[in-house]
């Protein structure tokens, strides 16, 4: 009981000092991370990167070595050989060309349409604006899987099976894109600039071309990369309408490698590595911008 009583002489000394913020007040952005924080982050980084590194290790070995314990932890000498065979087996050259085309066209269209629609929602006043914006947000909640069957019927009727346009058309819009550009333009585009352009006699389309597009360029670049990644990685729909021998995208080709009847694991890993490498390169170069873009799209609802 005696320990709970504070010695009387320390109390006035404390009160005399200027009240300092307790250490815990500086949590949330101001506090420096301690060793435990670094340990957790490094562990998590290793877990994030390990499967990728191990794909490369497995791709550099041969099938016999992969069917042994312990599993290999370091690179072998078979990498380029495996990459070459996987490239040929999975028709990856054509697949890369196809996927670049599909993802490029989709990303470009999404970015342009999202920018002008986002501009209208952010800066123009028109009847039904809020209702339409609610619909846009609502469409983000509808899973694409639910419309797969009629789309497949449409494609079958149009005779587009194995044709790239079957993949391109349904991926030309993105509700997320509209939302993302709206959030950006609300802040980045001052009303005065639009008004000034209006006073100078610019039509709405000229405003879009000469004011909105230049202002939105950084966000357009980020959205373009996000949409490129998303379309590049899209699996379900291309898997349904494209065959591995017809006009595969990279994902269809890579999945096909895994579904062969005599699977050679090192070849599958080589294919998986090839399918992932281009995007990892994009991330290595533009990672900071992509992270910033995702974080920017997340705040303010």
């Amino acid at each position: 009981m005696t320990t709970t009583v504070t010695p009387p002489e320390t109390t006035p000394a404390k009160a005399a000092k200027r009240p300092r913020l307790p250490k815990s007040a500086r949590a949330g952005g101001q506090l420096h991370g301690g060793p435990i924080a670094y340990a957790i982050l490094i562990l998590f980084t290793i877990v994030s990167l390990f499967p990728l590194v191990w794909t490369a290790i497995a791709a550099s070995r041969d099938n016999q070595r992969l069917a042994q314990t312990p599993p290999p932890f370091w690179f072998g000498s078979n990498l380029f050989n495996n990459l070459e065979i996987a490239w040929k087996d999975a028709n990856l050259g054509e697949a890369f060309f196809n996927t670049t085309l599909v993802a490029g066209i989709s990303a470009l269209t999404i970015v342009c349409l999202s920018t002008i629609a986002g501009f209208a929602f952010a800066k123009l006043r028109f009847k039904g604006r809020n209702a339409l914006m609610l619909i846009v947000i609502g469409t983000m909640m509808v899973p694409p899987q639910l419309s797969v069957i009629p789309l497949y019927m449409m494609v079958a009727k149009l005779d587009w099976t194995d044709q790239l346009q079957a993949v391109i058309f349904p991926s030309l819009v993105s509700a997320f894109g509209v939302f993302f550009m709206r959030q950006y333009l609300i802040q980045a585009l001052p009303d005065e600039i639009i008004e000034a352009a209006r006073v100078d006699g610019a039509s709405s389309w000229r405003v879009v071309w000469h004011v909105v597009f230049p202002t939105a360029r950084p966000a357009m670049a980020v959205l373009g990369m996000l949409m490129f990644v998303q379309t590049w990685n899209d699996f379900l729909w291309p898997f349904l309408v494209l065959t591995q021998t017809g006009n595969p995208t990279v994902q269809v080709a890579v999945a096909g490698l895994g579904r062969g009847y005599t699977p050679d694991q090192s070849l599958i890993m080589a294919g998986a590595l090839l399918g992932t490498l281009p995007l990892l390169l994009v991330f290595a170069i533009f990672g900071k911008q992509i992270v910033g873009g995702i974080m920017q799209g997340a705040v303010k609802g």
């Binding site: 913020l21 307790p22 007040a25 500086r26 949590a27 949330g28 506090l31 420096h32 982050l41 998590f44 980084t45 994030s48 990167l49 499967p51 990728l52 191990w54 314990t69 599993p71 349409l113 999202s114 002008i116 629609a117 209208a120 800066k123 123009l124 006043r125 028109f126 909640m141 899973p143 899987q145 639910l146 069957i149 009629p150 789309l151 079958a156 009727k157 819009v173 509700a175 009303d191 639009i194 008004e195 006073v199 006699g201 879009v208 990685n233 699996f235 379900l236 898997f239 994902q251 890579v254 895994g258 579904r259 998986a272 992932t276 992509i290 992270v291 995702i294 974080m295 997340a298 705040v299």
Partner: protein, 337 residues
């Protein structure tokens, strides 16, 4: 924030009421008509261009989102075969009764639920913890963020194939590591719970970093003085997390829960490619067949597109129910705060 363009100044050609200009009746008739025409065009432009700007999105959405969704409902009332997708015979609700009588449907529904829970809950909890740590002042913080987002750059196909190898029963890295610490090997593809955990781990691996970034963004938007006043009131760091950070993140948490729930309801590629038999059954005993995979099996393996449509619409109805529950919970939460 919106600008009223219709109240903005008219175009320069019309001139406005600049002093020193000749009075209006001095302008030749032809010129006046030209101005009236320009002015009308101006009005029309201001009035209709917003609709022109948003219409491409809505046209494409109606064509490739809304129409197919409704048509799926229509097709679910018909017998449609993959071999002749345009031949539709009205069967009423029979597709629905057929799938509800199918044990594999309920099995798939249960698997979707359990895989959804074991992939979403740990994923969001870990994302929250990591976001909290990333919110400290750190060296090389950009590096961690980019590294954590690397799985997001990998595709379902590549990630699933790698995890099949890592989870291999005989030579897989995970069983080897378990053996190292004295745990018996686990049949990650054959047994029910291990296979569901393995499939979920692919999802967790790909999405945790992404969600962590979303939480981090929301945390950074919380004003510092909230923490300072909480600390002055004597709250320690845990109390601050629970009484300042979490309440401020409520909308973001709800958003990620909704998005992850939708994602979990349609898991397809992971179980498809995780299957050793390369089939759509989700393992030899359907032990990790999800609703998405069941839909694919009915539609594209058994070629019953009508029945697959019924599955799709059932999934849609379930999602609507989840959406309503979410809405009610979020309103309750808002009311209580």
């Amino acid at each position: 924030m919106a600008t009223r363009h219709d109240t903005a100044a008219p175009p320069a050609k019309e001139g406005g009421a600049a002093p020193g200009r000749p009075p209006a009746d001095a302008v030749p008739e032809q010129e006046r008509r030209r101005r009236a025409r320009l002015s009308r065009r101006w009005q029309r432009d201001v009035r209709w261009s917003p609709y022109a700007f948003v219409s491409p999105f809505f046209l494409l959405f109606v064509a490739f989102g809304l129409f197919p969704l409704v048509y799926t409902g229509w097709a679910s009332l018909h017998q449609v075969e993959l071999t002749a997708p345009t031949d539709m015979n009205w069967v009423g609700l029979r597709n629905y009764t057929r799938i509800f009588d199918d044990d594999f449907f309920w099995n798939a529904a249960k698997n979707t639920l359990t895989i959804g829970i074991i992939s979403t809950v740990p994923q969001l909890l870990m994302a929250m913890g990591i976001a909290h740590i990333l919110n400290y002042k750190l060296r090389a913080s950009t590096f961690y963020r980019v590294a954590m987002l690397a799985p997001y750059a990998t595709s379902i196909a590549a990630a699933s194939l790698v995890f099949v190898l890592l989870f291999g029963r005989d030579y897989g890295m995970i069983n080897w590591a378990l053996d190292f610490v004295g745990v018996d090997p686990v049949d990650w593809q054959g047994d029910k719970w291990p296979s569901q955990i393995a499939v979920s781990s692919i999802i967790i691996w790909r999405w945790t970093g992404y969600n962590a970034l979303i939480y981090l963004a929301a945390m950074q938007a919380i004003p510092q003085d909230l923490y300072e006043s909480a600390a002055l009131d004597g709250a320690n760091r845990w109390q601050q997390f629970f009484h300042v950070t979490l309440p401020s993140l409520r909308p973001t948490i709800l958003f990620t829960v909704v998005v992850s729930t939708i994602g979990a309801s349609q898991v397809f590629g992971e179980p498809l490619l995780f299957d050793a038999n390369k089939g759509a059954s989700g393992g030899a005993e359907h032990q990790f067949q999800t609703l998405g995979l069941y839909l694919y099996e009915q539609g594209w393996v058994n070629q019953h597109l009508g029945r697959a449509s019924a599955i799709a619409w059932t999934m849609f109805l379930i999602l609507i129910v989840i959406g309503i529950v979410n809405y009610v919970i979020s309103r309750r939460l808002r009311a209580s705060s």
